[in-house]
Symmetry: C2
């Protein structure tokens, strides 16, 4: 067997214990809020039929889907066909004879596929959450991976605005729990639709939305240049700029919006909706909720309220976002299923928590106690005592071999184990053991029977 | 956009909430024991470089690896090359120009690759656990999937037998926790090696091991036929049968083994090792540990003690297994790393727990409380009270729209929510709310301020 180069694919990551534990701290916190809020977990397979995924993410998205090569193409009965079909691949087309399956690109399409398949068994409004990896053949760069986790929650089968309120509060509960100060921003696609109408450019809605979505990154000057390039005239530009300059608290923004929207029905509906959400009682230690009219969300399928969450105190993109859509499952033959969904950006939340040093010291769940191995009979007794600690949930280890104190101490130090238990010939005879706190250096001798009630957590 | 057929790939599964919760109950129990025993989590990417995987699982294994088609094959600069390289695929060979990456086939090879890559940063003995899905292009059948979870723990960088003892106890702790009665069986590859030597057929060790491994399924007669077919004569057959018929308790088996192994050094070493493990104090409610000389484990890389776990009271294959190996990372250029590892068969454990009805009633973590939606002002108050419950960890929901009692009751019933809270005009004015237990029908009215201390768990 030839010696292989050791590495992992570009854009993928190994997660060692410290990272797994911190990531779990984040996802467990989010899960707890989802569960307390009546959401139920769903898990879908990593692979979907290629058909299910293709054509859902635009031309660019289609190109970034990882496709799985069918097995058994060397089967003599399939070879000729495969050879011909491979030509399609070379033309940038798809062929189920070459790749029947692909890796999921996001969690929304698999969720839609699931709801369509099980529509008649589900209780609506159906509230699910899903935390699983997705794969994209994007060019890897800082903060962009080819395998990364998405963390989504959706409520489908209900038009009630209470669901939007629900999600604003779920964001607040989660970030309160994680102690990340955040601004939750909302806007409405209906207001943007009305803006396009007021500009007399309803056909330019998508381009307008995409342009406004970039404001954050490109600034107002370049935005104006972009708006001109999509064909807006001076008068139209003035309306858009007037809209984007609306400021003040939520109530003041709403008042100015009402003046601008005049009799535009869709716009007034949008205003009413965001008013409903921002006027709901909202009191959290570290989360604020406000209207941000420059918020657009690039993705196209939103139709009502949209959300975005920004972390305070750090310069980083949004750490969460979502919105309302009209039609989740139409693509899969089940029309008329509206919903709202949000997602959490786990990788960015991780970076924020590192930067603000918000991970609790207890997040590293290594052993609390190392029993020294000091001989055959001694280690048997230690093993027995250790199992008792483990049963009561205290992480404990027995050094694997009888060796010098020095080596055993070093293992405890390297693994950050705060206590060692020493049980040698003398202690064995006396029915005692010595406990040493490696942090303080303090050592005490106790009866073996008292070990399981010793506090190893301080 | 064409309407697509809705389905998922053969051999894959969607896991709805009830299944996710039960699976999590199993894996959380295992995790807790791993963590208490000083094991740390590791997660590796779903994709590995094709090189890393190929040639590690035998010819049959290689054929079952899911390969990922490279993206951008339609790029004009790559087309010609791709076309030529595809010929290799049609010949059953590999080509990094077509598939550079593949989905992991198990957790052992990625673990070995990780240890080789990070050898100088790790503290040995290195104890890791890993619970992640793997993918195999096997023909799907009952209980065999193309995507399934593996759950492994290994201790590497130590020859100490204490590690084997450790794993026997870890199995016991886990199955005690899950309340599954089990027999943990051990044997040693050294004893099987000695058996082949005593038969004067050391070159037939692998075939002998593979044959004995099947005894369970095929019975003694067919085993003898198979042993004859690999070329054992009557005399050799008699030795093997004599070996396989050794019975009694552990001590009796050891005595008979010693007679049979006579002066075979490897055999005597193997006996000493299993004696060490079975003579370690071992007292568990529902787990027994014993020597099973018919245990062989099909896989080839084991070199010392081997394990297998059988569930009592149900007819099902093994629900766990593992053993000692000499060389984890030699294939990746780092020789001299021995270890022991075990795995848990999560899918089978799930089936056993269903059959024996061992999942606790609390495993379904749905909401405990549904607040009825009885009007604008009423629902605002309800929302506020609901958020308080959620903060204290009680799963609660507010019905999404104001509608008939009947419909709201039906939602609670369908979702198995045991309590409803009714807060109408009267209650709003009085600062009270009514709580109805849907199981008992009992209804009581309390002050809103007392709600957060109400016991919704009974």
């Amino acid at each position: 067997m030839s010696k292989v180069k050791v590495g992992i694919p570009q854009g993928t990551r190994d997660f060692p214990a410290t990272v797994v534990n911190k990531r779990s701290f984040i996802t467990d916190s989010i899960k707890a809020v989802f569960e307390a809020s009546g959401f139920q977990p769903l898990e879908t397979p990593a692979m979907e039929n290629l058909d299910t995924l293709m054509g859902k993410y635009g031309e660019e998205g289609d190109r970034l889907i990882f496709k799985i090569l069918n097995n058994g193409l060397d089967n003599p009965t399939k070879k000729e066909k495969a050879k011909a079909e491979f030509e399609k691949i070379l033309e940038g087309k798809n062929s189920a004879d070459i790749t029947e399956r692909a890796l999921r690109y996001d969690l929304t399409i698999p969720f839609a596929r699931y709801v369509a398949m099980h529509y008649h068994e589900l209780t609506f409004p159906y509230k699910r959450y899903q935390i699983q990896p997705v794969w994209r053949a994007d060019r890897p760069q800082k903060g962009r991976y080819r395998e990364f986790y998405q963390c989504d929650a959706d409520i489908v089968g209900s038009n009630a605005l209470l669901n939007e309120v629900e999600f604003a509060h779920i964001y607040a509960l989660v970030f309160d729990k994680l102690r990340i100060p955040v601004e939750i921003k909302i806007n409405s696609r209906k207001i943007l639709t009305a803006l396009a109408a007021i500009c007399n450019a309803p056909d330019k809605l998508t381009e307008l939305t995409v342009a406004i979505d970039k404001l954050d990154k490109i600034g107002p000057e370049k935005l104006n240049a972009e708006l001109e390039s999509i064909g807006l005239n001076k008068h139209q530009l003035a309306i858009v700029n007037n809209f984007l300059s609306i400021s003040g608290n939520s109530q003041e923004k709403v008042e100015q919006l009402k003046l601008l929207m005049k009799n535009n029905q869709v716009g007034l509906e949008g205003i009413k909706e965001i008013e409903f959400v921002v006027n709901y009682p909202f009191q959290y230690r570290s989360a604020s909720l406000s209207i941000d009219l420059t918020l657009a969300r690039g993705l196209n399928y939103y139709t009502g309220i949209i959300f975005e969450v920004k972390a305070g105190q750090v310069q980083i993109g949004s750490i969460g976002g979502g919105g309302r859509y009209d039609d989740l499952t139409g693509l899969f033959g089940v029309p008329g299923v509206p919903g709202v969904g949000i997602s959490f950006g786990v990788d960015r939340i991780y970076d924020v928590m590192e930067e603000l040093q918000l991970f609790p010291a207890t997040v590293d769940s290594g052993s609390r106690v190392l029993f020294f191995n000091l001989g055959e009979a001694e280690s048997r007794k230690s093993f027995e005592l250790m199992q008792e600690l483990r049963r009561s949930g205290v992480g404990a280890e027995l050094f694997h071999e009888q060796t010098k104190f020095d080596k055993q101490f070093k293992y405890a130090e390297k693994k950050n184990i705060p206590y060692v238990v020493i049980l040698g010939t003398q202690e064995l005879a006396a029915g005692t053991c010595s406990i040493k706190n490696l942090g303080t250096g303090k050592q005490e001798t106790i009866n073996q029977s008292a070990l399981s009630s010793f506090n190893f957590n301080s």
